[in-house]
């Protein structure tokens, strides 16, 4: 049965690694729901967060293939319950809507969104939260005319410990 899993990968920061990771999914005809990359808590160690909908059995095998890559330090998979996760969305709306429609101010207030910038032509709202929250704000704002909308991939941290520093420390002491 398909289930949403968060795959976390700690890796070296090498050109081409993204290609190597995505090739693992491509080869198995697996769709990536979202993907974000960033620095991790450790200097020079990169982190990927990839969201997939798969049976757990397949995710396990995927993790094995990812960890097999030379530049990957460690990979994990977690269910939603095992992680703290968020997505960010930006909404660009024409400024006239903000001044002419009182209602829009209530929407912003109630959704706990932030106004990032205001110019004579447009203003930009930022909302970070769960998918359903950014979706709701999208639906609420859509009637006023969205000039642009964008949502980030999921970022997440696990509730349990990852232990990457220990792996790196062990490598250092072994060599």
């Amino acid at each position: 049965m398909d289930k949403t899993f968060t795959i976390s990968i700690y890796s070296e920061n090498n050109v081409g690694l993204l290609n190597r990771i995505s090739a693992i999914f491509l080869k198995r005809h697996i769709n990536i729901e979202s993907l974000t990359t960033s620095l991790s808590e450790i200097k020079d160690v990169f982190r990927f967060i990839i969201i997939v909908k798969l049976p757990e059995e397949n995710v396990k095998k995927l993790i094995q293939q990812i960890e097999k890559q030379v530049d990957v330090i460690k990979a994990f998979y977690h269910t939603d319950e095992e992680t703290i996760f968020q997505e960010s969305a930006l909404y660009k709306v024409k400024s006239s809507a903000l001044f002419e429609e009182r209602h829009i101010q209530n929407i912003i207030k109630e959704s706990h969104a932030n106004i990032v910038t205001v110019s004579p032509e447009y203003f930009v709202i930022e909302k970070t939260g769960f998918r359903k929250e950014t979706d709701r704000l999208y639906q609420d704002l859509a009637p006023f005319g969205l000039l642009q909308f964008v949502r980030s991939g999921r970022i997440s941290v696990s509730k349990s410990k990852m232990g990457i520093s220990e792996i790196l420390k062990k490598f250092k002491s072994d060599n």
Binding site: S11, N14, G16, N19, Q64, E67, K68, V70, D71, I73
Partner: protein
């Protein structure tokens, strides 16, 4: 041009010397004990070739006739010598021509380093002449790859490349070097790589798993070993033999495991898989314990997974954690190099013999001999069979040749009937099934084991995919024996068409050229045999030659290879006809 002595002196005198990136490439290869590479020059790799010219007394470059040939030759060299094979090519088409060999090396775990030239770094991404994204193209089929854009990166990346290619589960690594990085000068110093922090080549030996494995082995009534190339790659032949002999367990091989245990060993019960032996396949579904050693449960070995060894407990000795539970769920996975794990296992297992169980293999072998093998090896019909050619090769090589095969019917027949006395004697394209592999691989195999007799057995289809490497064999005078089994068909595909597509022989019949004339065109000794009474003498003459030799044998056109497990069927559904 510097002399060899001057270069050596310079290397000794200073720990770090200022040299070009191209010269650094050569020095890295020498530091990794490479003395032979295969390749093809071109624009973007010319600085390195210029250095090869200067270092030709220390590093031999074999000019193949196509870059694909360079990769297969490097593979053949790696497979017989156990060293890392090296192939070099220019950018663009030179690089893309390497891809088939790289993919082959990846799936068959062959240690190989490929070096490609690349356009200057300022031209990257500009669709320059002979620019291709070989890093992107080769990513899914390499163990690791890297693009060097600065000369100063060369020593570290080469050290890492060789370390990664040969360690753990071996595989191909590609290094792409921009032309400016080859020209630039820098302070060169080489340090061998001893570890990469994100890469754990060999998992730690799990002694608890070894103990559990020993318990299962000691309790088993009908245990069965299936071994693969891991035994050879781990140089674990002795440890493996000790375990087989002490436990008295019948052992069968995958196509890449072949030759790790001598053919005539009493516990060697033959081959598993699609065209493997009758007993090993049928009894896979009768054993109570399946001990898989250094093999990966390929679909050609297992057939239908839903009906594969369901009654048995499974122990899986494996170096690559990604193989555990990938296709077949292991009750006891034993991670690690099997050389270590088998050594640890040996004292824990009881000395036993399984006479009654071995008797089952012998019974089924009798059936296979009556139904299949007699027809293959002692045919009553007029036409020659592939099997009797292999028997003749066995006879005149005293069962001790390196046998290099291509892909198809001849490959299955050769693997089934060739005799092997020592390890690293079977060179074939197993996982990828690359037609055109054998001729260049045989060249490399002979160079990797010059003291050994190397016989390439090739079909008429695959032979014509890399036939141009006859030029390389001639130029280097490499004494490989080339046997083309000519049935004027793409035999294996034709067999499938006959069995599964109502004999609709779509594009499998070949109108062939005069192969002897072609060989003679390359000034090779060559002969053709089409009658049984001439076969033995021709093979004897070929084997007695100390030069490269070509022998064409015209065999029966529409023979089939049996036994056979149809695709997707269970190993129990193995057919004898």
């Amino acid at each position: 041009m510097k002399t060899k002595d001057q270069i050596a002196l310079q290397a000794v005198e200073s720990e770090s010397i200022k040299i070009s990136g191209a010269e650094a490439v050569i020095r890295c290869l020498l530091a990794e004990n490479v003395d032979l590479i295969y390749g093809y020059p071109g624009g973007a790799i010319m600085p390195v070739y210029d250095e090869l010219y200067k270092f030709q007394d220390q590093l031999t470059h074999v000019l193949t006739r196509h870059e694909q040939g360079a990769t297969h030759a490097a593979q053949g060299y790696a497979r017989t010598s156990g060293k890392v094979g090296v192939a070099i090519a220019t950018s663009g088409p030179g690089a893309t021509n390497l891809v088939t060999g790289i993919a082959d090396a990846q799936i068959d775990s062959t240690p190989m380093v490929c070096i490609t030239g690349q356009v200057g770094s300022h031209l990257l991404g500009s669709d320059a002449f002979q620019e291709t994204d070989i890093i992107g193209i080769s990513t899914p089929v390499t163990k690791w790859n890297y693009q060097i854009t600065k000369a100063s990166e060369i020593p570290e990346i080469f050290a890492k490349a060789f370390y990664i290619a040969r360690s753990g589960r071996p595989g191909p690594v590609l290094i792409d070097i921009t032309k400016d990085a080859q020209f630039d000068n820098f302070d060169f110093a080489y340090q061998k790589c001893t570890g990469v922090r994100s890469y754990k080549p060999v998992p730690a030996l799990d002694t608890h798993a070894v103990t559990q494995a020993a318990e299962l082995i000691n309790q088993a009534k009908k245990p069965f070993i299936v071994w693969g190339q891991g035994v050879i790659l781990g140089s674990a032949e002795e440890e493996f033999k000790d375990v087989v002999e002490k436990s008295g367990i019948p052992a069968a091989w995958t196509i890449l495991g072949l030759s790790a245990l001598p053919t005539n060993h009493p516990l060697n019960v033959g081959m598993v898989g699609m065209h493997g032996n009758y007993g090993p396949n049928l009894l896979t579904n009768e054993c109570d314990l399946l001990i898989a050693i250094g093999m990966r449960f390929d679909d050609r070995v297992t057939g239908d997974l839903k009906t594969y060894a369901k009654q048995a407990k499974i122990i899986h000795f494996e170096i690559d954690p990604a193989e555990i539970n990938k296709n077949v769920k292991a009750d006891i996975p034993v991670l690690g190099n099997c050389k270590e794990s088998l050594k640890a296992l040996l004292p824990l297992i009881q000395k036993k013999s399984h006479d009654q169980w071995m008797g089952r293999f012998e019974e089924l072998m009798k059936i296979e001999i009556a139904e299949v093998i007699n027809k293959d090896l002692r045919p009553q019909k007029e036409g020659l069979t592939m099997g009797e050619v292999i028997v003749s090769i066995n006879k005149h090589s005293h069962g001790d040749a390196v046998v290099v095969t291509d892909v198809g019917q001849h490959q299955m027949v050769a693997c089934r009937y060739a005799n092997f006395a020592q390890s690293r004697s079977n060179v074939t394209s197993g996982g990828l099934g690359t037609m055109g592999f054998a001729l260049p691989a045989a060249l490399g195999a002979k160079m990797g084991a010059p003291e050994r007799e190397v016989v390439a057995v090739i079909g008429d289809g695959g032979y014509q995919m890399t036939i141009q490497e006859l030029g390389t064999i001639f130029q280097t005078q490499t004494a490989v024996k080339i046997v083309v089994l000519n049935n004027e068909f793409l035999g294996m595909v034709r067999q499938w068409q006959q069995l599964f597509f109502d004999k609709r022989y779509a594009s499998t019949e070949m109108v062939n050229p005069d192969f002897v004339a072609i060989a003679k065109g390359y000034y090779l000794d060559a002969k053709k045999v089409d009658k049984r009474e001439n076969l033995d003498a021709a093979v004897a003459e070929m084997m007695a030659s100390d030069k490269p030799y070509f022998l064409e044998v015209c065999v029966e056109k529409e023979d089939n290879v049996f036994p056979m497990i149809p695709t997707g069927a269970s190993v129990s559904d193995i057919r004898l006809k």
